[in-house]
C-alpha cells in the first residue's frame, strides 16, 4: 500500500541542511544548543570548601582532648592506665628528642615504601596475566582472592622461621599482604572497562599491542589505582603487624617496634603517642601521595563524585 506520491508540501519549506546558508543556520543552532547544554562550572571557593571540611573535625578533636584533660584533672586516674594528653605529648617529645621517633618513622616508611614498590612490580604482571589470559584466571583467580582473605599477619610466624628476625621477614609479610590486592585491583580495573571501548578499538583497527597500550591500560587505570591504594593500606597494616610481632634480632627499628617497646616498658603514654604517629603517617601518605593522583585521574574522566573536591 504505497502512499500517494507527489504531494507537494503545503508549508513554507525551509530545508535547513542544504546550501551554505543552511549550514550557517545549523551552526548557529548547534552553538546555541551547545551553550545551553554545557554544564556551568560552579567553582565554590576551594579554600572555603577546604575550611568547611577541615574545621569541624578539628573542633571535635580539640573538644575531645579538652574533655580527656578534664577527666584526668577531675578523676586523677592512674597514669599508667589512663595517661593525660600532656603525658602523651610528653612521650612524643621525648621519643623525638631521643631520635627514636624519627628513626622509627623513617624505617617504617622506607620499608613500607620499598615493600609496596616491590609488590607493585610483582602484582602488576600477575594482574595483567590474570586479566588477559582466561585459563590462568580461572585457575589462579580464586586462589588469589583466597589469599586476600588470609590476614597477612598469619604469615609473620612462618616468615620468622624462614628468614629469622631480619628485614626479609618484614618484606615477605608486606608482599603477602599487598601483592594479591594489587593484582586483584588490576583485574577488576580491566573487568570494568566498558566493552564498548574495546569494540571501538577493534573498529578503529587497533592491533593487539595498540589495544593493550592505547585502550586497555588507560581505561583500566582508575581500577588499577584503587587497587594500588588498597595495596598500600594492606602493606602498611602488614608492616605494622610484622614490626610488632617480629621485634628484635637484626630487624630494623620501625613504628611497630616502637609501639611494642613502649608496651614492654609499661609506657602507655608512649603506646598512645606511637598510635597517633601511625595514624598520622597513614593519613599523610593518603593525603599527600594517593589523594592528589586519584583526584586528577578521576577529574580528567569526569568521574569525580559531586561531593568531593
Amino acid at each position: 500500500m504505497p502512499p500517494e506520491t507527489s504531494t507537494t508540501s503545503t508549508r513554507p519549506a525551509e530545508p535547513a541542511g542544504s546550501g551554505a546558508a543552511g549550514h550557517d543556520e545549523l551552526r548557529r543552532l548547534e552553538a546555541g544548543l551547545d551553550s545551553l547544554q554545557a554544564v556551568p562550572e560552579t567553582p565554590r571557593g576551594a579554600v572555603r570548601r577546604t575550611l568547611d571540611g577541615v574545621v569541624p573535625p578539628i573542633l571535635l578533636l580539640i573538644g575531645l582532648v579538652a574533655a580527656w584533660q578534664l577527666y584526668i584533672v577531675i578523676a586523677r586516674p592512674r597514669p599508667d592506665l589512663i595517661p593525660g594528653p600532656f603525658d602523651v605529648f610528653g612521650a612524643l617529645v621525648s621519643a623525638w628528642s631521643s631520635d627514636r621517633l624519627q628513626i622509627a618513622v623513617l624505617t617504617s616508611l622506607e620499608r613500607g615504601g620499598a615493600g609496596f614498590l616491590i609488590a607493585v612490580a610483582i602484582g602488576t604482571p600477575i594482574g595483567l596475566l590474570l586479566a588477559e589470559c582466561r585459563p590462568v584466571r580461572r585457575a589462579l583467580g580464586p586462589l588469589l582472592s583466597g589469599l586476600q582473605v588470609l590476614p597477612s599477619v598469619a604469615w609473620v610466624p612462618a616468615a620468622i622461621i624462614w628468614f629469622g628476625l631480619t628485614d626479609a621477614t618484614v618484606y615477605f609479610v608486606v608482599l603477602m599482604g599487598a601483592v594479591p590486592s594489587i593484582a586483584n585491583g588490576l583485574v577488576s580495573g580491566v573487568d570494568q572497562i566498558p566493552p564498548q571501548l574495546r569494540r571501538v578499538g577493534t573498529v578503529l583497527g587497533a592491533s593487539r599491542l595498540q589495544m593493550a597500550t592505547l585502550v586497555v591500560l588507560p581505561a583500566a587505570l582508575p581500577g588499577y589505582f584503587s587497587g594500588l591504594k588498597q595495596g598500600w593500606a594492606f602493606a602498611w597494616r602488614s608492616l605494622m603487624a610484622a614490626e610488632i610481632i617480629a621485634m628484635g634480632g637484626t630487624i630494623g627499628f620501625g613504628l611497630g617496634s616502637l609501639l611494642q617497646q613502649s608496651r614492654e616498658l609499661a609506657d602507655l603514654s608512649g603506646v598512645l603517642a606511637t598510635i597517633l604517629v601511625i595514624l598520622f603517617v597513614g593519613i599523610l601518605v593518603e593525603l599527600v601521595i594517593f589523594a592528589p593522583i586519584e583526584r586528577r585521574l578521576l577529574r580528567r574522566r569526569g568521574l569525580m563524585a559531586a561531593g568531593l573536591r
Binding site: 599508667d80 628513626i103 628476625l165 630494623g252
Partner: protein, 328 residues
C-alpha cells in the same frame, strides 16, 4: 576484680602469676609442694603461668591477677609509670644466676666490637645489666638497634637456637639458659653478673603484689608470704631434692623437663632468699635510665616489707631492710 571487691579481710581467691623458669623456683616449689595453698587456707590459690615480665605486669594492672613473681625491672617500671600506684614488692625470691655467654673465640670484652648480643627483653634486668656493662667497657648501644655492639632483645628459647646456629655472638641470659648454652651449645661465660655487684648479690626475682590488693587484703598477703617464706626455706634446706620438684612442675606446665646436668649447674648459680636487696634498686634504675630503657622516677614506697618482717619475726628470723624505699 572479684577478690578486690570483697570487704577487708581474707580474699576468696588469690590469683598468682609466675613463669615456668628456674629463677621462679620459690613459686614452682611453693605450688608443687603445696606450701602456698597450705598457708592460704580457705583462700583458693589460682596460679597462672606467664611468658614474660610485661605480660605479668599488664595482668596486675588490668586486675587479672593479684600478685606475681617478676624480675625487678618490670616491677620498677610499673611502679614508676603509675606514680607508685600500681604495685609493691613484698618480698625477694631469687638472687644471682645471670651471665654473659659468648661464642668460642671471644675471650675478652675487647673482642665484642661489632658483635650481636641477645638479651631477654628490652628493659628487663639482664638487658639493663648488659647495656650498662657494655657502657662501662666503652661500647655504645642503642635501644633502636644501632651502636658499637648491637643488643638484640630476643626471647630466651630463640636466643638459644640463634646461638646454636651461630647467628648471634653472645647473650646475657638468666638461668637455666646460661647453663643450657654452656652445656649444650659450647658457650663460654665471659661475665658473671655476680661479679658486677657488691657481695655478688643482685635480685633476679621478687614477689610483687597489686597495691589495691595489698591494701584490701593484708591477711591474704600475709598468708601468701608465709607460704613464700616456707618455700624459700625449703629450697635452702633441700638443695638435693629441689631439682626433682622443680622439674616435676616444669614438666606438668610445659611438658619439657630440664636435663639434670643443666638444672644442677643452674641451681649452683642461684640463691633463694626473702631479701629483695632493696639497696640495689636505685642503682639498677640509674643504669636503666642511662641505657634509655626507663624513665627516671621516685622509688619511695616500692617496698612494703612490714608483713614479711612480721612473718619472719614470728619464725624468729632477722628483719629485712627496705633501704629507705618503703615500710619495713
Amino acid at each position: 576484680s572479684g577478690a578486690a571487691s570483697a570487704a577487708p579481710g581474707p580474699a576468696a581467691e588469690l590469683r598468682l602469676g609466675y613463669f615456668d623458669n628456674l629463677t621462679h623456683a620459690p613459686a614452682l616449689v611453693g605450688i608443687e609442694n603445696g606450701f602456698l595453698q597450705d598457708a592460704l587456707g580457705d583462700t583458693a590459690l589460682n596460679a597462672q603461668s606467664f611468658g614474660a615480665g610485661p605480660a605479668a605486669i599488664e595482668a596486675i594492672s588490668a586486675g587479672a591477677i593479684d600478685a606475681a613473681y617478676v624480675g625487678p625491672s618490670p616491677a620498677v617500671n610499673t611502679f614508676v609509670q603509675s606514680a607508685g600506684r600500681s604495685a609493691v614488692i613484698v618480698a625477694g625470691a631469687t638472687v644471682g644466676g645471670a651471665a654473659l655467654v659468648v661464642q668460642e673465640g671471644i675471650d675478652s670484652p675487647a673482642d665484642l666490637a661489632g658483635a650481636l648480643i641477645a638479651s631477654p627483653q628490652l628493659g628487663n634486668t639482664q638487658d639493663v645489666a648488659l647495656r650498662s656493662w657494655l657502657a662501662s667497657e666503652g661500647y655504645e648501644t642503642s635501644t633502636t638497634g644501632g651502636g658499637d655492639v648491637t643488643v638484640a632483645p630476643t626471647d630466651n628459647a630463640r636466643a638459644f637456637t640463634l646461638f646454636q646456629s651461630g647467628q648471634i655472638d653472645g647473650a646475657w641470659l638468666p638461668e637455666p639458659w646460661v647453663s643450657r648454652l654452656v652445656l649444650e651449645a659450647d658457650a663460654t661465660v665471659l661475665v658473671d653478673e655476680a661479679s658486677l655487684w657488691e657481695n655478688g648479690d643482685f635480685p633476679t626475682t621478687v614477689l610483687l603484689v597489686g597495691a589495691d590488693f595489698n591494701r584490701d587484703h593484708p591477711e591474704t598477703v600475709r598468708a601468701l608470704l608465709k607460704g613464700h617464706t616456707a618455700s624459700v626455706a625449703w629450697l635452702t634446706d633441700h638443695p638435693d631434692e629441689a631439682a626433682d620438684v622443680i622439674n616435676a612442675k616444669l614438666t606438668a606446665d610445659t611438658g619439657k623437663p630440664l636435663s639434670d646436668a643443666v638444672i644442677d649447674r643452674a641451681l649452683g648459680g642461684l640463691r633463694f632468699t626473702n631479701d629483695p636487696l632493696a639497696s640495689t634498686f636505685p642503682v639498677s634504675l640509674r643504669e636503666a635510665v642511662a641505657a634509655g630503657t626507663a624513665k627516671d622516677g621516685d622509688l619511695d614506697g616500692l617496698f612494703d616489707l612490714t608483713l614479711l618482717n612480721g612473718v619472719l619475726a614470728e619464725a624468729g628470723g632477722a628483719p629485712i631492710s627496705a633501704a629507705g624505699l618503703g615500710t619495713e
